[in-house]
Amino acid sequence: MATITAPTAGHIATGEAHAHEMSFLRKYIFSTDHKIIGIQFLIMSLVFLLVGGLLAMVIRWQLGFPGQAMPGGGVLPDTMAPDGIVLPEFYNALVTMHGTFMVFFAIMPLLVGVFGNYLIPLKIGAPDMAFPRINMASFWIAVPAGIMMIAGFVVEGGHAAAGWTAYAPLSERADLTGVSMGQILWCISLIILGLSSILGSFNYITTVINLRAPGMHWFRLPLSIWALFVTAILVLLAMPILSGAIIMLLFDQTLGTHFFGPAQGGQPLLWQHLFWFFGHPEVYILILPAMGFASDIIANGSRKPVFGYASMVFAILAIAVLGWGVWGHHMFMSGMNPTLGTSFMISTMLIAVPSAIKVFNWLGTIWGGSVRFHVPMLHAVAFVSMFIIGGLSGIFMASTPVDIYIHDTYFIVAHLHYVLFGGSLFAIFAAISYWYPKMFGRMMNPFWAKVHFVITFIAYNGVFFPMHQLGLQGHMRRIFDPNEYEFLQHLQGINTFISISAFVLFAAQFIFAINFIASWFVGAKAPDNPWDDNGLEWTVASPPPHGNFATIPRVFRGPYEYSSPLVEEDFLPQNRELPPQPAASAAHT
């Protein structure tokens, strides 16, 4: 089954083909091997995913059973939850840190840090990243950022409590929240994390531009690589905006400058503009790689070439370009110039078009296929169906008059979880189960993986679908106790239902965690190419050796030549050289 690697032009540039003896420290801790760094990111971000999930459970406890003692909550200090009863100031910190951990420390590193690192060199046929040491630095800079962000919980005054969007002046004046050190740590941690992301992304960009194997021209790149490449550009250009804005916020807090505080002419709206000028590209950073993985996996699962490869690429580019011109849709109610609001509404509406192109092309890919329901495919299909819901709810909010009503309600919370959990996280589950055999040389248990999928899919919809209904009844977000309001009291039943679903959802994730950890040690040995995929990474051993390829592979075709009439099997690896054939006889092989 293994394909013969064709003799290659050129020579090995930087990577050593043979792993030589290295100390444990060099090999697994301060490794410059992109595969090890990818796995390090994987472990780190799964831990943060767990942290974010735990915080969500406390949030759901409070909303589902307000004012009641949380089981096991007694371990929390009195400044957070005396006798297990959540305090309002703790609640605000919970929401803030849930959003922060999930967006910056879980989903973004999972998509970009893990798969950007692991897949880019393997899929383009390079021995490693262009700058392996900077790559290592990018991981080891992220670690202290994470530790600092966790440390915020135990400092005096509690953790940052101004929302993950940290709107000024709430975030810059300690007297308004009672939080000072927590917010400062939040700022510094994100500045450091930003540096880490920038170091990672300029590495990816250089690698993709300069180190594609011969024959891997732009329109033969797998869509996952296209997506990661474009995402890296977005990270590169968006993160420094956030860093700059946060630095100003930090100076407002510590040096007494006046950027965002109105006392001496600062502009609270300036913070929002800067934050969302970063923030909207950021949400596309969180979805584009997911779309890329889904494309790869759906083509594989359907045994069919991707429908409309070129339009998929152009849709990615269009999303990335248009994504810079829509940030104002988060600020329709902020007091922004209403004429500006109208322009942002139109651009936001337009950005739905490339997403629609992608959805239709996924459908087109499945159409006429021969669908294998392996675990990654299940998650990828769930991704498509859930992203449709999340994307369509975005249209409601894009419409300025409707947003007047639903802005800052649970409708937004529903939207963001449909795109972030239903979108990004399902695609991450898909990608982890797809590339797990390559990463660890073992298969995950398919039975338990399917159980995990089914429970997650059902419980997830039980958590987030009813949130639309809450939002339509006017239920505001970020409130500690909706029962303060008469018009929300009749919604307690829904809130309790959501919470119970959330606990089920959380519990189901342990199936995944155990499967993930146990398979590492006892999973069935993985073949080189368990999914019959065409990508270059599947032509080398699982896990691939240091330096990836014995010689730089040569690429003869695009990555999605499934069910090609040229060969017997229903897949045709990118680097298999076919003997020249007369075109006529090729048709009936």
């Binding site: 503009h273 922004m336 110039n337 500006l340």
Partner: protein, 91 residues
């Protein structure tokens, strides 16, 4: 793109040019002209100087077109941000 191995651009010449432009800037800044004219003039001079540095000292002039494009790619974003947000106050 002169073929000769030792032909360098006239770096010293550029240096004197930059110094002269700086002197002009200093002169212009304190002219009693309308503020708007001064601002436009000064920005024009600054861009001129910046372009000299990018083209010669950073030798963009001698790089492939693709790299030049990459170098200026972020600039439109800066313009979009500033133009849109200033419309909050002046339009």
């Amino acid at each position: 793109m002169e073929k000769a191995k030792h032909a360098h651009p006239n770096y010293i010449g550029i240096f004197f040019f930059l110094a002269a432009l700086t002197a002009v800037e200093l002169g212009v800044a304190f002219l009693p002209w309308p503020k708007m004219v001064l601002i436009l003039l000064l920005i024009f001079l600054a861009i001129w100087k910046a372009a000299l540095v990018a083209l010669y000292y950073m030798h963009l002039r001698y790089e492939p077109n693709r790299l030049r494009l990459l170098a200026i790619a972020p600039l439109p974003l800066a313009v979009i941000l500033v133009v849109a947000v200033t419309r909050e106050f002046r339009w």
